[in-house]
């Protein structure tokens, strides 16, 4: 095959390149998304069949959930605190500062809790999954699992998937709860809101829907983090550098999926 003459490239319309690039990006994205879905289906199927790996699942829950508690506490607390400051100054303009407790609680439960927890945990646990499975892949440990007639999806992905789906709602709830504590502390001690009004306002404002939509989102984000982390691990190639690459990709891709699905879920659940 002879390469096309260079003039052919030059004569293409000016816009062809960016459009082409965008098209390629989109097809890549879609095929990548499809591959993740495939892994998700295999994982779901494998969840229903023995062996059930209870010890491994508990271990993953510890890594995914328990070890994320400190960072969730700190970020949640400060998020709540800053929300109190911001909301207070805006609401004061139309004398609605007594409402801030409720508004902040709903914001945390519906949006910031699941989304920020998802992004933080994607950086912590999602990257760790990609690194661990990726290292196993480049050192032939995945091949060894196959040779020992053990399904890598069952052995590696299922425990991480279960840990992700169960722990994310818990972490997100913790984030929202500590966020509310943070906003309460700042509102009462710094901004001088009446504590009783704050609390009463808040309880009056929150509805069951706020809580369960947040939990559903967190659950879905848990699925995204564990599947993306595992998938990137499985496609890792080429030594330490490859592992580094998949780790980064896992975080970027999981965060992107989280934000996209956050929009879709919000639109659906509203």
């Amino acid at each position: 095959m002879t390469p096309p003459p260079e003039t052919a490239v030059k004569r293409r319309p000016l816009l062809a390149r960016p459009v082409e690039g965008l098209g390629r990006l989109l097809t890549n994205f879609l095929s990548e998304f499809g591959a993740h879905l495939l892994l998700l289906f295999r994982t779901l199927r494998s969840c229903c069949w023995p062996p059930f790996r209870i010890r491994l699942t508990l271990r993953q829950m510890e890594i995914f959930g328990f070890n994320s508690i400190p960072v969730v506490l700190i970020t949640g607390g400060f998020t709540g605190a800053v929300l109190a400051l911001q909301t207070f100054t805006s609401f004061k303009r139309f004398n609605a500062e007594t409402m801030i407790g409720g508004v902040i609680a709903v914001t945390l439960l519906r949006e910031l809790g699941p989304v920020l927890t998802g992004l933080i945990v994607a950086g912590r646990a999602g990257s760790a999954m990609a690194a661990e499975i990726g290292t196993m892949n480049v050192t032939e440990q995945i091949d060894a699992l196959n040779v020992l007639a053990t399904d890598p999806v069952n052995y590696l992905v299922v425990p991480r998937f279960l840990a992700g789906t169960v722990m994310m709602p818990m972490l997100s709830t913790l984030f929202s709860a500590i966020g509310m504590v943070g906003s309460y502390v700042i509102s009462v001690s710094v901004l001088g809101t009446n504590p009783v009004t704050y609390m009463r306002q808040m309880w009056w404002f929150i509805e069951g829907e706020d809580i369960y939509t947040g939990l559903i989102k967190a659950c879905v984000f848990g699925v995204i983090i564990s599947i993306v982390g595992s998938y990137q691990g499985f496609i890792t190639q080429g030594g330490a550098e490859g592992v580094g690459r998949s780790t980064t990709r896992a975080v970027v891709l999981a965060s992107t999926f989280i934000l996209i699905f956050n929009y879709i879920l919000t639109a659906l659940l509203l």
Partner: protein
């Protein structure tokens, strides 16, 4: 029941790198075949095809008359339970201890009690010259020790076929000879079918009923150790005598 393997016209490329170019090779039930060949000639790639880790571009591999290359994941899993494989770099699970590594197939595929498994692990580790190392992690082992733990893991289930990827590389001569003896013993006592890859000609002569040489993606020679020593094929001669002068150029 012992297992026979027949490979016909196996082709495999990685991109532009045409590694296997029509390999024909067969191993009888209970036979021990040694594959020799230069570094990068595709020996590891070849045995990964036998156990279904790699899919060929073309060609067939039959194990006891069953075609491996087109097997579904489920059948492949059943087949693999009959196999043991020692990886070139051991491929130990680094999050598990030596004991857990060796116990892995037993825990996964048998209903044996804990104490029975522990006993079997101890026996197997003693067999490869590493008694009382159960509690160590792979990161704490030398290269040769890892190799032997990998061997113990491959032997733990008493498989019907074993694929050894360079069982003696990285071992001192005395330990290498002990491992050779172990492989010969497995072959004699349990009538295991085996394929071993090696660069170590002492080992090759000792453990192989038959030797096959892979060169430029094809099997260019097969024969008994005696035939191999007496051959006048210039490439085989060059390889077994370890000479840089001859038809095989090193670069």
């Amino acid at each position: 029941m012992a297992v026979g393997i027949t490979i016909t016209d196996l082709h495999k490329s990685f991109g532009a790198n045409h590694v296997l170019r029509g390999v024909d090779l067969s191993v009888e039930q209970g036979e021990s075949l040694v594959v020799i060949g230069g570094s990068g000639s595709g020996k590891s790639v070849l045995i990964k095809h036998i156990i279904g880790l790699l899919k060929p571009d073309r060609g067939s591999i039959e194990v006891n008359g069953q075609e491996v290359t087109t097997m579904a994941e489920r059948e492949l899993k059943e087949l693999r339970k009959k196999f043991g494989m020692l990886f070139q770099a051991a491929a130990l699970f680094d999050s598990l201890t030596v004991g857990e590594n060796v116990a892995f197939p037993l825990v996964e595929h048998t209903r044996a009690r804990r104490s029975e498994i522990a006993e079997r692990v101890r026996e197997t580790l003693t067999l490869v010259g590493l008694p009382d190392t159960e509690h160590l992690y792979p990161a704490e082992l030398s290269g040769g020790m890892k190799k032997r733990v990998g061997l113990a893991r491959a032997l733990a289930m008493e498989p019907e076929v074993i694929l050894y990827d360079e069982p003696t590389t990285g071992l001192d001569p005395i330990m290498a000879d002990a491992i050779n003896d172990l492989i010969v013993e497995m072959r004699e006592r349990l009538a295991i079918t085996s394929i071993a890859i090696t660069h170590d000609m002492v080992s090759a002569y000792k453990i192989g009923h038959r030797l096959a040489m892979l060169y430029q993606g094809e099997i260019i020679f097969t024969g008994t150790p005696q035939e191999c020593k007496n051959t006048d094929d210039p490439m085989v001669r060059q390889f077994i005598t370890g000479s840089s002068v001859g038809p095989i150029t090193s670069v």
